[in-house]
Structures are given as structure tokens and as C-alpha cells.
Symmetry: C2
Subunit: 192 residues, 2 copies
């Protein structure tokens, strides 16, 4: 098992719109892609830096892990993603060393890639994502660009992020309605 490179460094921010001027106007980076991660309840924007990317992640739901991270620690570095050449070998190595993972099983990301998160308690306080490089893959965890290789302007980007947020909220409406009572009750101390 070999780690090829840092695929991306993920930074948790309260608002991608508000954070972008620092990364684009001051540092001169550019957004090449945006996405949603339904499971994490976040919208994300990717900014390439050399052979890696910076990923800005913004929570859409208050109950997401990233929202809790922001409430507890404020914005900052959230996780690092390392690309491995052989996920089967990586999983075997993690098992041999009894390394604690966030989930028991790898989950399937863009393009069928397998992804695991190593628990920060097993990695000296760092949340480490391992993702597998697929043969013929484009060498990036975030897949094909939503903007077909063009660089989106600021207005286009803002509109695109709004659309992604609204779509996630709309898809989550049933679940939100179903869980609101439970969570609301929990907060007021009425549930066990």
C-alpha cells in the first residue's frame, strides 16, 4: 500500500461565499468545481493547488458533523484526504493495526471509488480520509467539473452554490420534518 499524494485539504467555513475572496483574490486560487455531499450535509468548492486541492466545506444542516465542528472549534482545517494506490491493501493494513475508523465499511464516492475515514483518536487528532485511485481515473477525488473546464465567474458560482444548497434542503424536507420533533424534544430534555 502506497500513499500517492495529498488529494485535498478540507477547510470548514461558515460560508463559502464569504470565504472565497481570501482564497481567490488574496491567494489567487480558482474554483474549478463545486459539489454536494448528502451524507455530510455540506456543499463544497474545490480550488486546485499544484497536485492537490483545497476543499471548502460549508454545512447546510445545523445537525451535520461539520456544523457541530464549526460551533465547537470555529472555522479551520477539518480533514486531510490522502490518495492510496490500493484500497484492499490499505484496509488490510488498518485492520492489522486495529486502527479505529469512523464507519465499519468504506463508503462509495464519486466514480465508484472507495473511501474510509480514520478516526482522529487513532491519528493524533487528525481526521484522515483515504480514497482509492482508480485505473484511468482523473487523479482527483472530486470527479468531473460541474463547469466543464471553464472557470465560473463570481455570480455564476454564487448561483450554483445556492442551487446546490436549495436542492439539498428540498431533498431533506421529509427527513427534517420527521426528525424535527425528536431533535426538538431532545434539546428541551423531553426524550430519553
Amino acid at each position: 500500500m502506497r500513499i500517492n499524494r495529498i488529494d485535498h485539504l478540507a477547510l470548514a467555513v461558515d460560508s463559502i461565499d464569504a470565504a472565497l475572496p481570501f482564497f481567490t483574490e488574496v491567494l489567487g486560487l480558482q474554483v474549478t468545481n463545486t459539489d454536494v455531499e448528502e451524507g455530510q450535509g455540506v456543499v463544497v468548492a474545490f480550488l486546485p493547488v499544484g497536485d492537490s486541492e483545497i476543499e471548502l466545506i460549508e454545512p447546510v444542516h445545523d445537525d451535520s458533523g461539520v456544523a457541530r465542528f464549526l460551533r465547537g472549534r470555529g472555522p479551520g482545517m477539518h480533514h486531510i484526504c490522502l490518495e492510496v494506490d490500493d484500497m484492499d491493501a490499505a484496509l488490510e493494513r488498518l485492520k492489522t493495526h486495529e486502527v479505529r475508523l469512523i464507519d465499519d465499511q468504506p463508503y462509495i464516492g464519486t466514480g465508484g471509488r472507495r473511501i474510509v475515514f480514520i478516526h482522529p483518536k487513532a491519528a493524533h487528532g487528525v481526521l484522515v480520509e483515504l480514497y482509492e485511485k482508480l485505473p484511468g481515473g482523473n487523479g482527483s477525488a472530486n470527479g468531473r467539473s460541474r463547469f466543464a473546464g471553464r472557470l465560473p465567474g463570481r455570480d455564476e458560482l454564487r448561483a450554483n452554490l445556492d442551487e446546490l444548497r436549495q436542492a439539498m434542503v428540498a431533498r431533506g424536507r421529509v427527513m427534517a420534518a420527521g426528525t424535527r420533533g425528536f431533535w426538538g424534544g431532545l434539546r428541551r430534555g423531553r426524550n430519553p
Copy 2:
């Protein structure tokens, strides 16, 4: 001004010796260099990952910024270092946007490179180091390897880190003796 790549991601740890098995035995990375950073009061170890490096940083003095970081937040991601092609242009850009820096002036690192740290309050909670690539430089902020290209064994590495720590403590003895009363008094509330 252009950012070429992520030079390194620095992780604050209580003990490099204790952290190494995760990074070497589990992730399969290797230490290629160690160093001291007197100004920060830390010893460091560099582990290449693709075109970047992971830097483990361990405080030697209790009063260093990294020691305070560890006491406040525990081990984890400490700063990211980005390589810029033109430090003059970078400084101009930072000035134009009134970006808050840790120090007023760049400081001079390995090989005469200029380095600035952007304050986390100006960078959405991320401590960002910018360092300049010099013409003909080896493309790495950490300079020439202490091990002349060989990979040190675990015992050699432990002995080397001990030597670096002890040398720093010896050099700092006078200052430590001079400041101990002040800090001790401050902690007990006797100084203003």
C-alpha cells in the same frame, strides 16, 4: 503571484516518537529529514507525500506557541505551508488587501528563503505560511536532508531527535533561567 503547491501540512503532536508508528507503520510514510525551529521552540520531522510533505512538530519548551496550541486544542493540524513563486508580489498583494500577518516582516528561513505567516483571523481559522521558491531551490521548504538521502532507522531517528531537543534546551538555558521567575510569578498572579 502564483501558488505552486502545498509545500507541507504541519501537525502538532505531543511527541514525534509516539506519533511516528501511525504515520510510518500504518500509512507507510517515511521520515527523510528532521530539524529544529529555534524561534518556534520545536523539533520537527518531515515525511514526503507526493509533491508535498507532512511535518510533525513537537514543542520543546512549555511556553512555545505550539505547546499552548496543544494545551488548548489537543494534537492536530497546526498550519499549512504554500509555496509562492514571487514573495515580493505576495507581500504586495497581502498589503493591498490589508491581510493581517503574524509578524510585520517576513522572516528568513532555510537557504535564505523569506517566509510569512498569515494570521488565522484573516484566513478563516487557518494558519497559512507562505514561503518563496528560490531559483534552483530543491523545491522543499525543509532544505537539505540531515540523513544525506538515507532513510534513518527508528533508533537512529530517536537518537537524532533527542540530540536536537537537548541542544535546544542547552541553548535556551540562560533565557529559561531569566524568564522563569517572571512566568512563574505571572501564573501565580503576582505580576501585573
